[in-house]
């Protein structure tokens, strides 16, 4: 397990210290940290980080709200419970690329229904940064909200019903119960769901590849790695970007676990 992930990662660190392009084997040369200097002083990297960060914050925030609403419904619903719980797995099971195509074609000016439904004539959503990002986020949110809502549902199930009842007897409104009873009691589940989805959203790639291919400045960090590595065959530079991506992810996880005190053992219901 470690062998198949740790070894390639070390290999990436090692490759990132060299100047090396496959199309130009003679260029193989040790250049130390120069690749990193190139990347960190380039606007391209910072823009990709900004775009990825923006997508992550927007999608995770929306998913928390929508996912929580879904979780509450799934928790309370009696008639049709099975149907809803089955349907919620459909977006989860769908191939991301398929979801990306579905949303792309829906918004595309030549084949989509969105423009004609909203009377937008031939508005091209993929011609500007803002609207391209909007569609990318839509697809991402649609596909991953179910996962979020299922984790939140698990948390919701752990909130003791007696506490709810007691609050109700004391005359607490629905809103007060939500803020003072439900949410504090499922804080662990909320944090874990947010952590999982943040790390997942940060590596977004499929949607961007299918929808814009990085056009209109929608390039994300993962996409940058791909483009350096596969399209430009710049192994050294691509490796350096991937090492930086890895470090960013570690940093995010660290902040969640140490600073925000996300308790991972909670997900599994471990009490020990």
């Amino acid at each position: 397990m470690l062998l198949v992930t740790a070894y390639p990662m070390l290999q990436a660190v090692w490759l990132s210290l060299y100047s090396y392009r496959i199309t130009d084997p003679a260029s193989w040369k040790f250049i130390g940290l120069q690749n990193y200097a190139v990347i960190l002083s380039d606007g391209l990297w910072w823009r990709a980080v900004g775009v990825t960060g923006l997508i992550t914050v927007v999608t995770v925030a929306v998913e928390l709200l929508v996912g929580f609403a879904f979780a509450v419904v799934m928790h309370r619903i009696a008639l049709g419970r099975g149907v809803v719980r089955t349907a919620i797995l459909v977006p989860y099971g769908m191939v991301t690329v398929v979801s990306a195509f579905a949303w792309k074609f829906a918004f595309a000016p030549d084949s989509g229904f969105v423009n004609s439904w909203f009377g937008l004539e031939h508005h091209d959503f993929f011609a500007q940064f803002g609207s391209s990002l909007f569609v990318i986020c839509m697809s991402e949110i649609w596909k991953t909200t179910p996962f979020m809502s299922l984790l939140l549902l698990a948390g919701l199930a752990q909130v003791p019903e007696e506490l709810q009842e007691a609050a109700r007897v004391d005359g607490a409104t629905w809103w007060q119960r939500l803020w003072n009873v439900t949410i504090p009691n499922m804080k662990a589940a909320i944090m874990v769901a947010t952590l999982f989805r943040t790390l997942d959203a940060y590596r977004i790639f499929d949607n961007v590849f299918v929808m814009t291919n990085g056009a209109q400045n929608t390039e994300t960090v993962s996409f940058l790695v791909y483009r350096q590595m596969i399209s430009r065959t710049a192994v050294g530079l691509g490796s350096a970007v991937s090492v930086l991506l890895f470090l960013t992810v570690v940093l995010i996880a660290f902040v969640f676990i140490k600073v925000l005190k996300t308790d991972l053992s909670q997900v599994r219901g471990d009490r020990s």
């Binding site: 397990m1 198949v4 992930t5 390639p8 290999q11 990436a12 490759l15 419904v73 799934m74 619903i77 009696a78 049709g80 809803v84 349907a87 797995l89 459909v90 977006p91 099971g93 769908m94 191939v95 991301t96 690329v97 398929v98 979801s99 195509f101 579905a102 074609f105 595309a108 030549d110 084949s111 229904f113 423009n115 004609s116 649609w142 984790l151 698990a154 199930a157 752990q158 999982f196 790390l199 940060y202 590596r203 499929d206 299918v210 993962s222 790695v225 590595m229 596969i230 192994v235 691509g238 490796s239 991937s242 090492v243 890895f246 992810v249 996880a253 909670q266 997900v267 599994r268 219901g269």
Partner: protein, 275 residues
């Protein structure tokens, strides 16, 4: 509000969720049945339903090869990964050893690893080892990502199995392997199944490795092939054909979701709740 009305209100809300989940699926299905100029009618439904796009897709060698690759690679990765994970998770659940928590945390960390970070080193290694553009070249990274996830899911299931059963078998003179095979396996089967489904979803869904580590029909799986699909001729817009192909890739997922809803939910939430 009386009890009955309240229950109906929740069901109505549930209906909205179902609509949310199925709407884009319905759209891509509808699009896949559009024929010729209908693709550009900018309406949700086709004026005439046609199988034309499905005929195009199935007639395409590219798609047939991709489908074969996807099925072969995903199934192999699933079987190998779950078999190994079962043994590992059993050990983790049964044996007390130093760093047990660390192993489980590592497993989770790897599952959250940015997949693309492995592409540059693997790309380079695979080219040197001759694994680039082969089935094995994809099966190995799939396994490395799904093993931790499976171990994580399975160890939650194994913890639920009572120790005493095993001791009873030992007293009756069963060897450790017999105990594992005849006592533990039947009880662990639902967990193993869940892990298998989640693993299959991962491998089936993968796009990053699919496009980066393949170059031809030899190993390129469907999601990657979809992105490069250009239709029967270069000049024809492939929109509807892609939609049809997209529907075909989704088909294996639907029965899995329908039949194993409870198991998948239990697996996703890490055994914290019983579906």
């Amino acid at each position: 509000m009386n009890r009955h009305a309240r229950s109906l209100a929740w069901s109505a809300a549930g209906f909205l969720i179902v609509a949310y989940t199925l709407f884009p699926v319905l759209w891509i299905v509808s699009l896949s049945f559009k024929k010729g100029a209908d693709v550009h009618n900018r309406a949700f439904f086709p004026t005439e339903w046609s199988w034309e796009n499905y005929k195009t897709v199935f007639a395409s060698d590219l798609f047939a090869a991709a489908m074969r690759n996807s099925l072969g690679i995903s199934l192999t990765a699933t079987v190998l990964s779950v078999a190994l994970a079962t043994l590992a998770a059993y050990a983790i659940a049964r044996l007390e050893f130093k760093g047990k928590k660390l192993v489980l945390s590592m497993a989770l960390a790897i599952a959250m690893f940015p997949t693309i970070s492995l592409v540059p080193p693997l790309f380079d290694m695979w080219r040197n080892l001759g694994l680039y553009d082969t089935w094995i070249g994809l099966i190995i990274p799939y396994m490395s990502f799904t093993l931790p996830l499976s171990i994580w899911t399975l160890s939650a299931f194994f913890r639920e199995i009572p120790w005493e059963l095993e001791q009873a078998a030992q007293i009756d003179g069963a060897t450790p392997w017999q105990t594992f095979r005849n006592v533990i396996m039947p009880l662990a089967a639902p967990g193993v199944f869940t892990a298998a489904i989640l693993t299959f979803f991962f491998a089936w869904n993968d796009f990053v490795f699919g496009i980066s580590l393949t170059a031809s029909d030899a190993a390129r799986p469907v999601p990657a092939a979809l992105a490069f699909f250009t239709g029967e001729s270069f000049f024809k817009q492939p929109t509807a054909a892609i939609a049809a192909a997209a529907v075909v890739v989704t088909i294996p997922v639907i029965p899995l979701v329908l039949c194993f809803q409870r198991k998948i939910i239990a697996g996703l939430t890490g055994g914290a709740v019983k579906g």
